[in-house]
């Protein structure tokens, strides 16, 4: 910002100031000014100081003392930006020539803040002023009178709310004096708003009247209840003539005709108020009169007495040279203890994070991830797994079925026939089978997968490697009642391993490894269990350091009716672990529903 009456400093002036500083390192600005061998205007001196700071020749430290930048540092900075040297030279030329060097605009380096001749307390206050306070002080200084909060908002160019806050803060800091004055604020009532939208009733009335005598019964535009008001107002203003014959007849007067031509004062007032609330103190006497008349009309105006804030600047406030403060407005000092806005880092959903870790563990143990579709045919969910079509678990109430689409495709005939044989008579497995007629249609019924073993079934059909280790994290769906331990959609971790000479004992070994690796179990226990698709079957219990013995998972050897009929010679050891329960342990939850909580606060605070 160019200052009025500023003399552009000459090169020798700058040198003179530099020399003075060299001989008097560590003086305040005023002290230094007084020490100059040749007198100069303080403004000019200020400009030179700014320039020297900018070109890194001097600094203004926290105590308000001007100090030379140390020689090495100077060389460093000069060396680094030798280009700047040329720039500096150009700058000097510019200053000399144009004197228009804008001081306030190039604060790209951080410079120490000015404090000019203020006592310590005031210095502290000045330096911590917010943007709105600075703007307010500037406006107060310039207007040189008391301002209402609305005027302050307008003159300082800040929001009304900010102006309010500014008044409060300045008052607290003793830089301004706040005063509350009760003023009456007026806004339009129901009828007033109507009149603003549709026009004053008397206007509308007059418009309909025209110049001829009209019977009152002929007036259509105005509702009956308003006619009297309109009549009254119009007569009062001398806009109409009335005559009583059989009934009342009316005619506009000259005055009335004039009235129609332009906007009345009342209309102007309505427009002025509009949808706002205006402070009646700010109205002229004439306007107040008009308002009074409007007020006589029913429901036209609403009055509210409110305290309005006013602020005037104090001596202390005047002391703080607003221009200098504003100069540094962009780099005010922060109170490091002030609370700041809370922000949150991006995070994984805790359950998915847990699932990722489990997957990594399994991959490191040599397991291949299988595909885990959400929708499967009953063929994979039940039939391949040798669960008969009349099994109670396949009824309407125990398992979901799709309505749309309803049926899916089955794999090649060879496989379908093998499964059919398995169910009906055991097929190639030396088994009795279930002895019923197996239906392809039922097998092709679509359903959301009810257990992860459906994916293992699909893998067995698709093809497996020997030896092989497979796993999947399956999203399963069952029509269960939702409570603290059950979800409509839940997760299972399951899979199977197969290889030459795999036995039941090896299955137990695998389970023990899972319990130790994934749940940190100290000991394990094996219990006889039942699954329609494994024999023998086993339940794994693990000894948790805090919770004692807990059910960890189930496993077994896939029945021969499954593997032999799919042409698999080796024993397939299948296993399934409750992922959700494991996650609950890890995340220290008591209710499984919390795993998939939609509470953003919980997610943000999670690990």
């Amino acid at each position: 910002m160019a200052k009025k009456g500023l003399h552009s400093p000459r090169l020798d002036t700058i040198s003179m100031v530099e020399e003075t500083i060299k001989k008097n390192n560590g003086l305040s600005k005023t002290e230094l000014w007084k020490k100059l061998p040749k007198q100069m205007m303080y403004q000019t001196f200020s400009t030179v100081i700014d320039y020297l700071i900018e070109t890194k020749k001097i600094i203004l430290n926290t105590e308000g003392k001007i100090k030379l930048v140390l020689e090495e540092e100077k060389e460093k900075t000069e060396g680094k930006e030798s280009l700047k040297g040329t720039e500096e030279a150009n700058e000097r030329k510019e200053i000399k020539e144009t004197g228009k060097k804008e001081i306030g605009t190039q604060k790209k380096q951080s410079i120490e803040v000015f404090k000019v001749d203020l006592d310590d307390k005031t210095k502290k206050i000045a330096v911590e002023l917010s943007e709105i306070e600075r703007k307010s002080l500037k406006a107060l200084n310039e207007e040189k009178k008391e301002l209402s909060v609305q005027e302050l908002s307008e003159k300082a160019g800040i929001e009304l709310d900010s102006a309010r806050r500014s008044i409060q803060w300045l008052n607290e800091k003793g830089l301004g004096k706040a005063r509350i004055q009760k003023s009456v604020f007026v806004s339009l009532g129901k009828e007033g708003l109507n009149a603003l939208k549709l026009g004053l009733p008397e206007k509308n009335f007059l418009k309909e009247l025209g110049t001829e005598w009209k019977k009152i019964s002929e007036i259509k535009s105005i509702p009956k209840q308003e006619i009297n008001i309109a009549l009254g107002n119009a007569k009062k203003k001398g806009l109409i003539e009335l005559k009583k014959e059989k009934e009342l007849i009316i005619k506009t007067t000259e005055k009335g005709k004039e009235f129609l031509k332009k906007k009345s004062e009342e209309e102007l007032m309505l427009e002025k108020i509009g949808e706002k609330e205006i402070n009646t103190d700010l109205l002229s006497e004439k306007e107040k009169e008009v308002l009074k008349f409007l007020g006589f009309r029913k429901d036209f105006l609403k009055h509210k007495e409110k305290g309005n804030e006013f602020i005037s600047i104090t001596e202390k406030g005047k002391e703080i040279k607003t221009s200098e403060i504003l100069l540094n407005a962009k780099i005010r000092k922060y109170n490091i203890q002030d609370p700041v806005q809370e922000i949150f880092p991006g995070k994984k959903q805790p359950y998915y994070k847990f699932q990722d870790e489990i997957k990594q563990k399994l991959v490191s143990l040599g397991f291949k991830e299988m595909k885990n579709p959400l929708i499967v045919q009953e063929f994979y969910n039940f039939d391949v797994l040798f669960q008969p079509q009349n099994h109670p678990a396949r009824t309407w109430t125990d398992t979901y079925k799709l309505k749309k689409p309803q049926y899916g495709k089955l794999p090649e005939k060879r496989i379908v026939n093998a499964i059919k044989a398995a169910h009906e008579n055991g097929g190639k497995a030396k088994s009795k089978g279930w002895k019923y007629t197996w239906s392809e249609k039922i097998a092709s019924q679509l359903m959301p997968s009810a257990h992860g073993t459906a994916h293992s079934a699909r893998q067995l059909v698709k093809g497996i490697e020997v030896p092989g280790k497979y796993f999947s994290t399956a999203r399963c769906f069952r029509p269960d009642v939702v409570d603290a331990t059950h979800l409509i959609e839940f997760n299972q971790l399951e899979g199977f391993v197969l290889g030459k000479d795999f036995t039941f004992r090896k299955l137990l070994g695998l389970l023990k490894e899972f319990a130790t690796e994934m749940a940190g179990a100290e000991k394990v226990k094996f219990l006889p269990d039942y699954y329609p698709f494994t024999e023998p079957s086993v339940q794994l219990n693990a000894l948790h350091p805090n919770l004692g013995w807990v059910e960890f998972g189930g496993a077994g050897i896939f029945r021969a009716e499954i593997t032999k009929n799919l042409g698999i010679k080796e024993k397939c050891l299948a296993w399934g672990l409750g992922m959700d329960r494991l996650a609950m342990f890890k995340l220290k939850l008591n209710d499984v529903r919390e795993l998939f909580s939609h509470n953003l606060n919980w997610l943000r605070k999670g690990e």
């Binding site: 959400l374 929708i375 109670p392 070994g509």
Partner: protein, 545 residues
């Protein structure tokens, strides 16, 4: 699966041994039973095997444990004395309820507990095994009130008798309408012109299977000394099995089983008939499957503990077992028994010792990268359900769409599979209006849409949805995020102006990736914000991954 209620004292008496709670829990394992609850004398046992109806009463459980603890061994033997009674079965019942099996149990001591167990066993067999009485319905009668030979025939619905629990004569049809059991099971017979009826020689009604017994002979109390058991259904084999299981339990209560002749006219059968089944397999299969080194002697001893009888014939093992064991269909079923008898915890776990290379599913790699990028943008990952409502996915979004639907959903809230992630994210935001803004969330998950060409008639697509919500958010902010995402994933794309019903017009676009995948980006429209009750602006992005 079924939970069986037993009296601890009763169980211990039948077994002939007392147990502490811990000991009880251990021995129950041999019948795959888990102690769900124990309240003083009352035990609630969860029997996990669905194919062992013989275990669904205290007698059956005791039968298994007795052998396990050495009180008995081998196949349980049940003697059937020759009875004189006949039951004539009318062939007109064909199509209605043609098959029956009957037995007499004499000199049985019935206590309160015995009565409870009879009712429980009857109930459990009929409900699950009998498919809610359709395949199996069981009736138990006071034998002393049954005179002479019986007739099981198709009767006129106008015939009358006093059903159990009532005290006036009612016609068969009336019973279906008025009696609670009639209302519950009437649909099994109501469409027929005649109803099944069991009467004695004096035409006294015993019961109307599968509905209800009569109040006279059908009432069994602790005073009853002799019982008559009737089982009806469609499959003789099944009906016979159910009858045998009832008889076994009653015989375990010291009742004496007397046979009854089933007279089908041309065919005559004696019921019950306890037979032995046999299964033969190679001896080495046992150790091969289990990984053990059992000797022949050990195997035979273990089989005895499981109520079976084994003999070695050359290289083979011949195992005999009672024909009530309908769950034995393959050699491995027997080998499991051997392992249970030995105790799983005595088997030493062995490591697999096989090296394989692990890997994640190929598709997942790209998805994980996208998730990591989102976290890098400071977004919070959320998880919403795959099952959702039509209201959230279409009504609130002003869309008309077709979804993959569930036929038997338990609630409208979980009726369809989500087709877009965005509605779920908006739903999430609407639940978190009290949390501090800005709110920046994302979800990477699967959506399901109809696609006839696919094997399962649906296509499961991985999608990514990002929502940024704060008062100053706009299209440009999201566009920056999107462009950064596309740049990092090295995917080329084109933006097209489009009218998207749930996005603010003029502030939205369709995305087309160079590999054919699609997406959309924009600001949520006011209308949709209102529908979800959102008060702060949301800019969104959803793309196929």
């Amino acid at each position: 699966m079924p939970t069986i209620e037993s009296s601890k004292k009763d169980l211990e008496e039948l077994i002939g041994k007392k147990f502490s709670k811990e000991e009880l829990m251990e021995v129950l394992l041999c019948v795959k039973g888990e102690l769900d609850a124990i309240e003083e004398d009352v035990l609630k046992i969860d029997i996990k095997e669905t194919n062992r109806p013989d275990l669904w009463s205290t007698e059956g459980i005791a039968r298994g444990i007795k052998a396990y603890v050495g009180k008995e061994k081998g196949i349980p033997e049940y003697k059937v004395l020759k009875g004189k009674r006949k039951v004539f079965i009318d062939e007109k019942l064909n199509g209605i309820r043609p098959k029956g099996a009957y037995a007499e149990i004499r000199e049985i001591k019935i206590t309160e507990e015995v009565l409870l167990q009879i009712i429980q066993l009857q109930e459990k067999i009929c409900q699950s095994f009998g498919k809610k009485r359709e395949q199996i319905a069981i009736g138990v009668f006071d034998l002393d009130k049954v005179k002479g030979n019986c007739k099981y025939f198709a009767a006129e619905p106008s015939m009358e008798f006093v059903p159990l629990g009532f005290n006036e004569m009612m016609s068969l049809r009336e019973i279906l309408i008025k009696h609670p059991k009639g209302k519950e099971y009437g649909k099994l017979i109501e469409e027929f012109e005649k109803f099944p009826l069991l009467v004695d020689e004096n035409n006294e009604v015993l019961s109307m299977p599968p509905i209800i017994n009569s109040d006279t002979s059908g009432k069994v109390t602790t005073e009853t000394k002799n019982l008559f058991v009737d089982v009806t259904g469609f499959n003789q084999e099944l009906v016979n099995t159910a009858l045998k299981i009832m008889c076994m339990a009653l015989a375990d209560r010291k009742g004496k089983i007397y046979s009854v002749e089933l007279n089908y006219g041309k065919k005559k059968l004696i019921s019950p008939e306890f037979k032995k089944e046999k299964i033969v397999f190679s001896l080495k299969e046992v150790n091969e499957l289990l990984g053990t080194e059992f000797s022949k002697k050990e195997i035979l001893k273990l089989l005895e503990k499981r109520r079976m009888q084994g003999t070695v014939k050359g290289k083979n093992l011949v195992v005999d077992y009672g024909d009530y064991r309908k769950d034995i269909i393959h050699s491995w079923d027997v080998i499991e028994e051997i392992a249970i008898a030995f105790d799983y915890n005595k088997l030493v776990p062995e490591t697999l010792n096989v090296f394989t290379l692990g890997s994640l599913e190929e598709e997942n790699k790209g998805i994980n990268k996208a998730r990591e990028l989102c976290i890098g943008f400071g977004l919070q990952e959320i998880a919403s359900n795959h099952l959702t409502s039509k209201e959230v996915q279409s009504k609130k979004m002003f869309l008309e769409e077709e979804f993959v639907e569930i036929a038997n959903s338990v609630s409208l809230n979980w009726e369809i599979f989500r087709k877009k992630l965005l509605p779920e994210s908006l739903d999430f935001l609407s639940k978190n209006k009290h949390c501090s803004y800005p709110q920046k969330i994302f979800e990477a998950g699967r959506c399901v849409e109809l696609n006839e060409s696919k094997e399962t008639g649906v296509e499961e697509k991985w999608k990514l949805c990002i929502c940024i919500s704060h008062s100053k958010t706009n299209f440009n902010e999201m566009k920056s995020v999107f462009e950064a995402l596309a740049r990092e994933r090295k995917t080329g794309f084109k933006l097209k102006e489009a009218k998207i019903p749930f996005l603010e017009e003029g502030r939205s676009a369709l995305i087309e990736f160079s590999d054919g995948k699609k997406g959309f980006i924009g600001e949520i429209s006011r209308k949709v914000m209102e529908e979800f009750g959102l008060e702060t602006n949301v800019s969104v992005l959803e793309i196929e991954l």
